[in-house]
Symmetry: D2
Subunit: 412 residues, 4 copies
């Protein structure tokens, strides 16, 4: 007989693993790999507590899902044991396709493959291995389940994924600003016409959630130095790929080398078992172990960039609401080229512009519906007493320009 396991979690105290199939999925090497993939990539270089992994996050999201099921049942919504299990499995595995430093890697190595697609490939593999016990979970993940609220619990504006990562990220970063009242939000969940709604009493909590989310973006996720660090890694990967594909020898772990040497597309992940197998061996450790060695690379671009990352000499980064003036960029490039004694192609690794866009609340994607006592349902943007919620749903676009620290100052 299966004996219930319990995992300690600084965030929620204890996470129970109530079913054997879930325990086995957690023990599977595909899932264990997430132990070696940090939730927030390089953010720990700025917030030193942010070392928590996708492994712990996935367990936390599963825990919140079990609470959500409990709440919905207490309100008379029937959820069968099979459905509950499927919900727990879906949320547990929702991030299983993530690679190390997703953002940087997706841009530099496995460019057109997103992690949801890979998660699905893994789920299908596991479904075969576990005698089709994951079929219902996959149905929910693909949003093919007629009870739409189930998919919404996994992926939506208020899904268990977001509730956990908001809380977990702010907890480990030590940023009290981002802490949300997940228990209150969960208590306010309900289902109306098979869709997830929040009871009217929960409006304030949702407002707070959206604002906390927005603040977490500016304070953590899009923190200037965090972006500077991520782009530094991206440039390193770009350079390493360039060198490797042009025949240079480079130290790297075998799994990492496989992806540095070759270009793979989604279909390769789907059809070529070796690709997914090698991907399963890849995690944060392969990347950082290699970058550490590259500090001594004979290629000065790679060596400079790698030293910058390991010694935390990130790019200087400027941010503004409009694109940067071309002449300004050119002038900085010139200064940098002189400073680094680099040619134009090389300088592009050290001076570049990019843009990021962020919604606190994205009404085009999926909305948060509020259920009133009289049975009516309104979008939070309309229901909120805070007249300004419309502002929150406006996208915020920021342009940023990166260049090495220590350049002589350049007129803007």
């Amino acid at each position: 007989m299966y004996k219930r396991k319990v995992i300690n979690d600084p965030v929620y105290g204890f996470i129970s693993i109530s079913d054997e199939i879930i325990f086995k999925l957690i023990e599977h090497p595909f899932f264990q790999r997430l132990r070696r993939i940090k939730q927030l990539g390089l953010t720990h270089l700025i917030y030193p507590g942010a070392l928590h992994t996708r492994f712990h996050h996935s367990l936390g999201a599963m825990y919140l899902m079990s609470l959500a099921v409990q709440t919905l049942r207490s309100k008379g919504r029937e959820i069968s044991h099979e459905e509950e299990l499927a919900l727990l499995i879906t949320i547990l595995l929702h991030d299983i396709g993530h690679g190390p430093f997703s953002h940087a890697l997706e841009h530099a190595i496995v460019s057109e493959v997103n992690h949801e697609d890979i998660s699905l490939i893994y789920m299908n593999r596991l479904n075969e291995e576990f005698d089709h016990q994951l079929s219902k979970a996959i149905e929910i993940f693909k949003d093919l389940c007629p009870r739409k609220f189930m998919h919404q619990l996994v992926s939506g504006q208020l899904d268990m994924d977001r509730l956990d990562y908001m809380k977990r990220d702010s907890f480990f970063c030590g940023v009290a600003e981002g802490i949300i009242s997940d228990d209150r939000i969960l208590n306010m969940l309900n289902v109306h016409n098979d869709r997830l709604v929040i009871e009217a009493k929960g409006i304030y909590s949702i407002e707070k959630f959206l604002i906390a989310r927005r603040l977490m973006y500016w304070q953590v996720y899009l923190h200037k130095t965090v972006i500077a660090a991520e782009y530094l890694l991206m440039q390193i990967l770009k350079r390493a790929k360039y060198l490797r594909r042009n025949g240079s020898k480079l130290f790297s772990t075998p799994a990492f080398n496989f992806f540095l040497e070759n270009e793979f597309f989604l279909n390769d992940f789907r059809n070529d078992e070796e690709v997914i197998n090698k991907f399963s061996l890849l995690d944060d450790i392969d990347i950082i172990a290699s970058v550490k060695v590259w500090q001594d690379s004979s290629d000065t671009v790679l060596s400079k960039l790698s030293k910058m990352l390991i010694n935390r000499r990130f790019f200087r980064i400027e941010m503004q609401n409009e694109p940067f003036n071309k002449t300004y960029i050119e002038n900085i490039k010139k200064a940098a080229s002189h400073f680094l004694r680099s040619n134009e192609h090389e300088t592009d690794y050290f001076v570049f512009q990019d843009v990021t866009t962020n919604y606190a609340y994205d009404p085009y994607n999926a909305n948060i519906n509020i259920l009133f006592r009289d049975g009516s349902v309104k979008d939070i943007a309309e229901a909120s007493d805070m007249l300004d919620i419309s502002m929150i749903s406006k996208p915020v676009t920021k342009y940023f320009l990166c260049y090495p620290k220590g350049l002589p100052s350049v007129d803007k």
Copy 2:
């Protein structure tokens, strides 16, 4: 002018870096290396939150030191700014000599070198680099300062190191049992005849601290599975060293390879700059990146052990108060040899006995003195109302026996 920096810490909220020299020491690659060395080694495989690093711990201990100085000053003990700075530097750097997975590494690779000695080597190097600004700190570290309480704040039964790691470890493990009232203990600190004492009102807190410490030992530090994991890594390192020194080719990072190939003694660390330089490049990542690759090693012992670690198939471990019966061990070795199809030498990697001893309170090492209102001072073991404190100062010795899971059962 130096602008005060602040670092977020989930444990204490904020840690201020008040002096430029301290900021520069933190930024130094020697210290930054501690970002890649987990405080609790492999414990995160059992307590998944336990990913915190020696970097964060050292900052935390420094924070507590600043509080301790503040308390002592408020009680009329004069501590000059220079002394304060020296105390902060000493505690900040006290762990700088740690290597990755200290316990395992010290037993398998750099066998007779302890981390305090290496810390001192680093401090001396930094002292030269920073124009002898660390001289006072080194004096305190070496316990050459006549104001004995200063060294006691850095290293003693109630030093800032212990106060921080007890709190930080229990926090990140999610083990509320270990949480101690550092603020109450700090409030009770005083100095009497140049030695650290606790005011009588703080007796209960000290008792609680000693008990919490003992419990942390059994629940975390000497948790059966944690020990099984650590010994597994130790066996892996032993095997890798054996193979490498017998000429086998093995994947590893260059820094790690340097220590696999050669045997170094303390004098080498002291006298050969290359040794300390290479050591400075070594951290958790080198070890784990290599073990991951070794899963596919052609040496079946190394490959089996490495797979066991990465897939969390640790040894089964038995613990008891007396040594294990020799026949029992022999029988298990036979069963294991048959099970693994291994020869005697190989089997020794999979079946072995060891012993561990632990004091919650070690009266022979340094004691905790209680200061009473009448000016008298007593050892906590004598002062405590809890008659049983003498028990706590008894060493607890545990023997344990490790062997692979899945063996047929063997008579004891």
Copy 3:
């Protein structure tokens, strides 16, 4: 010699009382009285943890003041020991003039006397008693100190009073939404041209603070049921005063009776020592002890209202953005009069309308200034990246209508 005292606080851990004069002020009966005056009046009937007192709040605000002084000094702002002491005393005593259930009492018994005026009367009394050691504190309290930031630390949009009550109230109510990062805000404090400013890095925290404050208003301070409870007490006091002043006998404590019988104005508090002496005997206990007995009063209005309070049968309360329709109110009065068998005068105790206005950020009162790196200073409303802060500074006005539960429904 004075020996530093320490008080336990669930919110901050420990509060040190570093100076003897402060210890003596805390021990004074005027201040001890605050132990019997709850910070949030009747709110504990809705949030049962909200039993914390003005005593504890005042200590907490003093604690935050000591941290603020420490931060400002660390940034090179000189604050003498005398000034520090004055700041601690001012904030400690800022609420000493509060009576029990201030809101209800101010409206029903001591109608035109506000608590700041009474605080000042107490401070002057204490100043005489303590040989003019409070003179500087009184100067700051009255905003006569040329270093304007000192008064701002005591009373402003970001004073230590607000920082403590926001945190303390949300803590004891168990409403995580209101928790603010006081340590981060304190860390961002600075002084510019003798006025308090927040460094630019702290903008997000201020935004969060303003939003948390707004939410605390709707979730706690202006919670419908909290208002219904407060107005119920107000009606009880009004009725009791009416009865007493019309010669009825009523049980009450002597101190309470003194204020039921007579009408006192600010000048009476200032000039008639008996008034302030009797006021010093009055606290929550006098009021509730009397209301409990009034449940059996021969006056049915008083008895009904008192029973409603003690048994938590509060008014039903409707809230809306516009005044209520007169006919609607009249119809409810008719229904209530019939339901209660009461005449028109009596019915007015049970059916009434009122209005409340609230700012999250009141730019007309005092503003929060942000200090940028280039030395420029902007109002938060202008400095904020969140375009919508202007909305937050709009007053929100709510009309509400109270009437007994259980009335037959009335057309609106």
Copy 4:
């Protein structure tokens, strides 16, 4: 249909009230009275946060009970909905018979009546009022239910009462030392032969619980000043009773007067409805409101004692392991008599000796049983690795002597 209610709790976040009968019991005036009875009596005069009530504690204990039921069910122990409801009701009402300042009142006014007996009287009354829906709960309360573990969850060495009060008391006192891992202990609960057991893995947590409990005793429950305050109130009540029964007029609330005037025994509570009705009106407020007025009593003993309480001029208290020397007591009495200008009878109110005994673990009362993997069960005192647990189960007896502050010193 009943709509689930939720109550905010700073300790656990949210407490759900899942059944209508429970909601109605909470709303009942008998239970609401507990809102006005502090869990820790006068302790808040020493730990100012300790204002939490028996009301909140009872809800908290009910919350823990619901978790315990959930855990036991997850381990395959069947608990019917009816049984669950009965368990929740029993623990909710277990303290309903408490009067204000139980300790002081039980010794001075209702001397031979303990609160469990009164709780039962209330339960029987409520059972009639609620159509015998409490019968099963009463059966459990009286330990007549054959499934013995049910009573043990309500009253035993590890019942939900203790788990909640330990955690709640330490939380509100701000004494981190007392915080226990209720979630871990709950997780380790199991049932063996119809009795409550703790699984072997939970031994450390139990040890920690017992030690935390012992420390809470010395730090809070038997804190010298707390005892001095309680005995002061006891002396006040004794004097007031003496005066009232000798015909003096005394201000007091009617309910309080009823008990000052008359002596009631358990049978009066059982048979005379007026006694229980009047008792239901009595709470902390009646007592303190009266003591406040008694400060001006014409009886100098009463007035002196009352002033001492309100102004926190408690007795000086000495504590030791043996009875105090008679001559010493006599000498103190003489000094006090002279100091207070009091006769012998009067002096006895100001100088007295008493004794208190306390077990951290009382093996004679009920024990904590540990269930091992092999199915064997041992008492914790035997099972514990900590050899010294036998010490913890030794009773600790303390003698204390109270007398007024300010006496000239007397030879011992």
